[in-house]
Amino acid sequence: MNTHYPIKQVMDKEGRIVDSSYESLINEQLVKDLYYHMYRIRTFDRKAISLQRQGRLGTYAPFEGQEAAQVGSAMALQPADWMFPTYRDHGAKLTFGADMAGTFLYWNGRVEGCVPPEGRNIFPPAVPIATQLPHAAGAAWAERRKGTKNASIAYFGDGATSEGDFHEGMNFASVFKAPVVFFNQNNRYAISVPIEKQMNSETIAQKAVAYGMPGVRIDGNDCLIVYFEVMKALEEARKGQGPTLIEAVTWRTGAHTTADDPTKYRPADQGKDIVDPLLRMERFMKNNGYWDEAWVQETAERITAEIEKAVEDMESYPTPNVEDLFDYVFAEMPAQLAEQKQSYLTHLRGNQ
């Protein structure tokens, strides 16, 4: 079993192909699709930060810098696969087909934003760290029992590997040969805690050894390697080969959330050597003759319009319904809860 984990890449920082074994898999449409989604989710992310600053959105967790990891992984999925994101993976969700207005609503304290669109299995974002890994194992196990070719993908950060649920989810998936891709975005920080303080192991990929599954370490800012490696792991999973752990090494450009100040814990020059994943893809496209100014321009306009519309939809969304507080807790509301609901609604009417 592999015990050495060099970082795999398709392209270098200048956007030049460094591993020709992938060359035959690359085509203009794929590259443009990946770029399109990275550009789209970045624009969404920046919009969300600006809405938060204007008081039009609650606390928000930005993902700028991690677009290649989120888009490459989500694009590798099939529509019937299961996605288990964290609070930072709305870029992956949007790429997989989550509703954009709904995603804004989530960050505005609206539970409606957790409801997946018809025809997509997207779990509500896991806020308690690492709790989604066992879920991904279970959903994938169910697919295997049902004899389908569907798989699940669990997103999680470097910090999440310290929680028991990480290990329990990995172990279950490997024991039951569940078709799961454990997709780690190692952005080197868990809020303020750098990876050297989080763990004493050199890589996250090597943790796969303990569970008898393949571990792969990739350049998470190289959208192509992310796409190809996640695709490969999914194919193995669909063939009944069980789970894979992928460590995508990346970087969160901004704060942990809009309530966080990274200058308190990150040295000012750290991350300066990292080439932005969108710029890298742009270089790659230019090197390969895929860069088309008119297309880029048109894409940018289309995305801006889509996002403006989603903001409008979020802001004109019906005000929250108090009854929702009570109505979705059980299939059938127990009498003692019904009584609480009734008495509160009566109280509200009395105060109007």
């Binding site: 609650g58 609206r110 539970v111 760290i129 303020s192 805690v193 309530a259 609480q340």
Partner: protein, 339 residues
């Protein structure tokens, strides 16, 4: 390393105007200064000074061996604290939000709270667990839980919940001095709400003692932590319609201040208990049964409770409907008074 508690003068020196979160910080600073056994453990508490700045500046002064940025692992934090506590240290563990204590629940329930009993007192766990709790700050989901009753139900751990800066520091130091484990719940919503004079240096607020914050004759209002401002506002409003409220800040949730509760209810004959936590299995029920046991013949009306509902704490767009409001408390007061 000399592991001892220095005998600093316990008398109160100059006062400072502090918020609750600053008072908590000052409490930990005082403990670190005066007791070598104290260690702080938690996620983001060192270099970052805590997500609420409760440990701001402490790692710089006391070093990374005593103010420790731990891995992201609540079970690890609490489990390792048990080992530290039985072996000469006094851990003060921060759980970043009470809603993230669940991975550590097993450690608290099966070890922190019963090691003394299981070893007939040979091993003890003098540790403090601190956790901000409660809704009302438009936080993302799961960040607003208020589950004190999970811990008051648990034998072998004390639970305190200050509502003022003075009590926050005094209870924290008392918790650290206590021979048994103490969970201190810190009202996130009140962290920076107001400043008050807090003595510098070492002082304690006795665990197990509530405080009467307003003297009254018609009805007893019992609350703690972030519900105190709600109850005080309700008392003011009730006062306008001539209802005089005896307001009690419980401060310690286990063990309860039975004498204070009984004395007040025997005077007023009525009570409203207010908590943010869910109704069923909430601490309010224990207080009701304590009143029944001590003061049944004094009661002039059924005891009212105003609480969060039996639903998960909602996303923030609906949180104002989950939290008890002064209007709901006033309604309960009137119901009891006009019974």
């Amino acid at each position: 390393m000399a592991m001892e508690m220095r005998d600093l003068p316990k008398k109160e020196t100059k006062d400072q105007m502090l918020t609750i979160v600053q008072a908590v910080n000052d409490g930990m600073r005082t403990l670190l200064e005066t007791d070598d056994r104290i260690m702080l453990l938690g996620e983001d508490i060192g270099k970052n000074g805590g997500v609420f700045r409760a440990t701001e500046g402490l790692q710089e002064v006391f070093g990374a061996d005593r103010v420790v940025d731990t891995p992201l692992s609540e079970a690890g934090i609490i489990g390792a604290s048990v080992g530290l506590a039985v072996n000469g240290f006094k851990p003060i563990a921060e759980i970043q939000f009470l809603g993230f204590i669940y991975p550590a629940y097993e450690q608290v329930m099966t070890h922190v709270s019963r090691l003394r009993m299981r070893t007939m007192g040979r091993y003890t766990v003098p540790m403090v667990i601190r956790a901000p709790y409660g809704a009302g700050v438009r936080a993302p989901e799961i960040h607003s839980d208020s589950v004190e009753a999970l811990f008051t139900h648990m034998p072998g751990i004390k639970v305190v919940c200050p509502s003022t800066p003075y009590d926050a520091k005094g209870l924290l130091i008392a918790a650290a001095e206590d021979p048994d484990p103490v969970l201190m719940l810190e009202p996130m919503r009140s962290y920076r709400a107001k400043r008050e004079e807090v003595p510098s240096g070492r002082y304690t607020v006795e665990i197990g003692k509530g405080k009467r914050v307003k003297e009254g004759t018609d009805i007893t209002l019992i609350a703690w932590g972030a519900m105190m401002p709600v109850v005080e506002k309700a008392a003011e409003q009730a006062e306008k319609s001539g209802i005089s409220c005896d307001v009690i800040d419980l401060r310690t949730l286990y063990p309860l201040d039975r004498d204070l509760i009984a004395e007040s209810v025997q005077k007023t004959g009525r009570a409203v208990i207010v908590h943010e936590a869910h109704f069923t299995g909430g601490l309010g029920n224990d207080i009701v049964s304590m009143i029944n046991d001590t003061s049944f013949l004094y009661l002039r009306a059924p005891i009212e409770r105003v609480t969060g509902f039996d639903v998960p704490v909602p996303f923030f767009a609906l949180e104002e409907h989950f939290l008890p409001t002064p209007a709901r408390v006033v309604q309960a007061i009137e119901k009891a008074v006009h019974f």
